[in-house]
């Protein structure tokens, strides 16, 4: 049997790792919610599993997403992950080939050079030896890049590297030591028995026979021990993302979706974070306000180590920019919202005072302005204008201060209260018999779409205006105005509505592109979701965003959210208008030429 005492640390470490991972995965899988479990069962034996394998290959080994962001960074990850993976696979084949059986000792592949001392020197062995050296070289090159990244992250396109915890540092040190030690150990064997190829053999030649004899066993011990350290620290360090992400990809392919509640899937997501720190660069708190310790990477890290505090949990604009940037595709904003959930007080009813709000009139269309819109009366007036121009009958649900949609409560983690509000509004809406609900505030809109279970159509006013134009119910005047459209977070990244507002605005003026738009658009700083930063910080974020948005000196800075409008109006001396306001000003009045004339004058006055 191929045995030496130095394999003990490796075997022990590998078994421990296996046990811990199986235990953790079993626990998380059992925590999956009903829907997620259903999908897993239904799609386990389906083509989706094959698609998942494909995805694992592309994302977990080749790291396509990171490659796209920065080729050098992608190569670093690929060489380490894929290189090591191949080392294991090819090593296994090599060992099986050598032993003449597939069921050779499991450690043989790892310490192959040591045990395969009297291997015949023919082309197959040479081929394997060469391949293995090549793979080792690739891995070592990746390692070199990793060291450079640690020292100077900017070269690899990362402005701010993550600050790591002690587990990470131990695992990282072990990881960095594995391959140099393997190289040295194998080189020493190669020096003694000449079984190395260009790399191990080449370095082996530099060793004297005496020296190689002296260091060979200690080097294998060191190699094996470092493996032990890495394996044992892996489940407690960021390297847990390696096994977790594989399962996560399968779960996703099978159709499991993260819901409002924290679940086993969330556990997998949290552990799939590799703490690469890409989210730090995407975060406006970082690049506008120089707050660098609260981003998703730290949020998830602190959650994993059960150290989460209010300052980190609540210090987030929930703008979703990090979700867009995450290479693992973690739903960071949603996870944050799940985790903000607070302990509840059983049996409490919070908003009974809203009961006296009654709707007597039946209606087909409801207009819900939202709390914030109450403070931007121009939007409400504009919407009323548009409704009357399109001759639409509607019920203005919150004309006399309505019930909040519940999303602000949910964002702060008060689920019970949020549900209370949702049920109050649902009652009002279903009583009215409406078929269409139009919102002016993207926050309410997202809430109605995702948190309510209303079986009526829900639209943001930008979509509704688009529909009115398409149906020829309103006509607009064209002008020469230059318009910059600012995508509100909840409307854009939140609900993927990028086109309708642009289509509407392009009927009025010329839309000018900005540096950050659509998926990359910036938060206005007015976000309600952050309860930690103070006004001063919000203004820094706003000013930076405003600076970028108005670089081209547009005639109008358009947006589709009362909160964004409010943020920008206070600082920008130019025109900041909601899309509804602009449309209302540019309504073409067919049957009244006199009014139309006045209208045109008004349009002209906008430019002033």
């Amino acid at each position: 049997m191929n045995y030496n005492n130095f394999i003990i640390p490796f075997c022990l470490g590998a078994s421990l790792l296996l046990i811990i991972i199986i235990y953790k995965f079993a626990k998380w899988l059992s925590k999956l919610d009903k829907k997620q479990k259903y999908f897993v069962k239904r799609n386990f034996f389906s083509k989706k599993s094959i698609a998942a394998i494909n995805e694992v290959f592309r994302e977990a080994l080749i790291h396509r997403n990171i490659y796209r962001k920065n080729p050098l960074l992608g190569y670093m990850h690929m060489s380490l992950a894929f290189g090591w993976f191949l080392l294991i696979v090819v090593g296994k084949i090599e060992a099986s080939f050598y032993a003449g059986s597939f069921f050779e000792e499991p450690w043989l592949a790892i310490f192959f050079k040591f045990f395969a001392r009297e291997q015949a020197n023919f082309w197959v062995a040479n081929f394997f030896s060469f391949t293995m050296d090549l793979l080792l070289l690739i891995v070592l090159s990746g390692l070199a890049l990793a060291i450079i990244k640690r020292l100077k992250s900017k070269i690899l396109g990362i402005k701010k590297a993550t600050k790591h915890v002690i587990y990470d540092k131990i695992a990282l040190t072990a990881l960095w030591l594995i391959f140099p030690l393997r190289l040295l150990a194998e080189s020493s064997t190669a020096a003694l028995v000449q079984n190395g190829s260009f790399l191990t053999g080449g370095i082996g030649e530099l060793f004297s026979l005496q020296f190689a004899q002296n260091v060979e066993l200690p080097l294998y011990w060191a190699y094996s021990s470092v493996l032990f350290v890495f394996f044992v620290s892996l489940p407690f360090s960021r390297y847990m993302h390696i096994p977790s992400e594989v399962v996560l990809i399968f779960l996703r392919k099978w159709g499991a979706k993260a819901g409002e509640q924290y679940s086993g899937l969330s556990d997998f997501e949290i552990n799939s974070c590799s703490r690469c720190g890409i989210c730090i660069d995407a975060c406006q708190l970082s690049f506008s306000a120089n707050i660098n310790n609260v981003q998703s990477v730290y949020f998830i890290r602190d959650t994993r180590y059960k150290k989460l505090n209010d300052n980190i949990a609540n210090n987030c604009l929930m703008c979703g920019r990090c979700t867009e940037a995450c290479p693992v595709g973690l739903e960071l904003t949603l996870i944050r919202q799940q985790l903000r959930t607070k302990t509840e007080i059983a049996g409490k009813h919070y908003y009974d005072y809203c009961e006296n709000k009654n709707n007597k009139n039946k209606t087909d269309i409801i207009y819900f302005a939202g709390c914030m819109t109450q403070l931007t009366p121009n939007i409400i007036i504009a919407m009323k204008n548009i409704f009357s121009a399109a001759k639409v009958k509607y019920w203005f649900m919150d004309e006399d201060k309505g019930i909040c949609c519940g999303r602000p409560m949910r964002q702060q983690g008060f689920v019970q209260q949020s549900k209370d509000l949702i049920s109050k509004n649902t009652k009002l809406i279903s009583k009215s018999g409406a078929k269409l609900l139009i919102c002016s505030c993207p926050i309410c809109y997202k809430s109605f779409k995702e948190e309510y279970s209303l079986d009526i159509e829900i639209m943001h006013h930008s979509e509704y205006i688009k529909m009115l134009i398409d149906e020829n119910k309103i006509k607009l005047n064209k002008s020469e105005l230059n318009i910059v459209f600012h995508d509100p977070c909840e409307l854009g990244r939140g609900l993927n509505i990028y086109k309708p507002p642009r289509q509407v605005l392009s009927k009025i003026g010329k839309i000018i592109d900005t540096e950050f738009s659509e998926k990359d658009s910036l938060c206005c700083g007015g976000s309600l979701a952050n309860t930690v930063i103070e006004l001063e910080t919000q203004l820094e974020i706003r000013n930076k965003a405003l600076e970028i948005l108005t670089k081209s000196k547009p005639d109008i800075l358009a947006t589709a959210c009362p909160l964004c409008k409010k943020s920008f109006t206070h600082a920008y001396k130019g025109k900041v208008m909601d899309i509804a306001e602009i449309v209302s000003k540019f309504l073409y009045l067919q049957n009244n030429s006199k009014k139309q004339e006045i209208k045109e004058k008004e349009i002209f006055s906008i430019l002033k």
Partner: protein
């Protein structure tokens, strides 16, 4: 010796007063005004607090003295650049015409806050939300009416619009709006004793001579009702009245009422000219106002040799304060011209 000259930019209260004082001493003064008429912001007012003195009279007294031959007045001239070159202060107007002098005095003054920036108060949206300036204009005509031409039965004055407001970036107190609201409420009640006037305030700052007395008189004689609370929403009702919402903080209850006219007491902001010329000469202070060298004895001089400041280009001031400040500036300038 006396052929030395000074440019004064802005022919408002401070500019004219300083011009008169300097010219009396035999120096040449170039007084430049961007508008057609002289008098600056004083033109906008009918009567002055706290004694209801005719603003027109103050203005005429100032302007009438301007006929000294040492003063050259250039109206309709907007200065866009001011700099020191070849031992002269040079002011350039928008037509690229240059004015040269040995010293320069900035009296570019203030402009009022644009109330449209506080959208929730409905200015520019609803007809019957007006600013204190518009109220003055109406008062000049002797008729204070709603846009529909009716006599307001109820009028509300809201203090601190654009002052003491972090949201619009103005942390400072404009100092004159409180007493101005008291004055305007009293004026309103003089004309319409049967109507009711309300004044919404955060703090009543009556720190000038006779201010407190006027405040008291407005309570006793004119029955102006003071409510400690800030209005945070205004909306029009069907009959074009304005419904306002505030908290009556002293009773701790929310308060809503309908008024025929809502007057926003707009605060003082640095004028565009002040902002522009001060930053060109690196004497820009907080909030776009110009910065003097120091408050104690150096308030009219700046870090730039030969560049002087007077009036509300530095900070909100009342008219008597501005006049005194202009005299002080004139004194400093004369001293400076004597030395060079």
């Amino acid at each position: 010796m006396k052929n030395k000259s000074v440019i004064i930019i802005g022919a408002g209260v401070a500019g004219i007063e300083a011009a008169n004082n300097i010219a009396e001493n035999g120096y040449n003064v170039t007084l430049i005004e961007k508008e057609n008429l002289l008098g600056g912001n004083l033109k906008n007012y009918a009567k002055l607090f706290p004694d209801f003195y005719e603003a027109g009279e103050v203005k005429n007294n100032l302007i009438n003295k301007l006929n000294s031959e040492n003063i050259n007045v250039y109206n309709n001239n907007e200065i866009t650049e001011l700099f020191f070159e070849n031992n002269k202060w040079q002011a350039v107007n928008s037509q690229n015409q240059k004015f040269l002098a040995d010293a320069a005095l900035l009296t570019t003054g203030f402009t009022v806050f644009d109330a449209k920036r506080k959208e929730e108060l409905g200015y520019g949206i609803y007809d019957n939300v007006i600013t204190s300036l518009e109220f003055e204009n109406m008062y000049k005509t002797g008729k204070i009416t709603t846009k529909q031409g009716n006599i307001p039965e109820r009028i509300a004055f809201l203090n601190c619009v654009g002052s003491r407001d972090e949201k619009v970036g103005n942390h400072y107190c404009s100092r004159v709006c409180c007493i101005n609201a008291v004055k305007q409420a009293s004026e309103f009640k003089e004309i319409y004793p049967d109507s009711q006037a309300y004044c919404f305030y955060m703090d009543m700052r009556m720190a000038g001579q006779f201010y407190e007395e006027l405040y008291r008189k407005s309570q006793e004689k004119h029955n102006v009702i003071y409510i400690r609370g800030r209005i945070s929403e205004a909306a029009a009702t069907l009959d074009n009245k304005i419904q306002i919402k505030s908290e009556d903080t002293l009773s701790g209850l929310p308060l809503k009422m309908t008024v025929d006219l809502l007057v926003l007491m707009v605060g003082i902001e640095a004028s565009i000219g002040t902002n522009q010329l001060a930053s060109q000469n690196e004497i820009n202070g907080e909030y776009g106002f110009a910065k003097s060298k120091g408050l104690y004895g150096n308030d009219n001089i700046t870090n730039k040799k030969g560049l002087f400041l007077a009036g509300t280009c530095k900070r909100p001031l009342t008219i008597p304060e501005t006049i005194a400040d202009a005299k002080a500036a004139a004194n400093q300038i004369i001293k400076y011209l004597n030395q060079i």
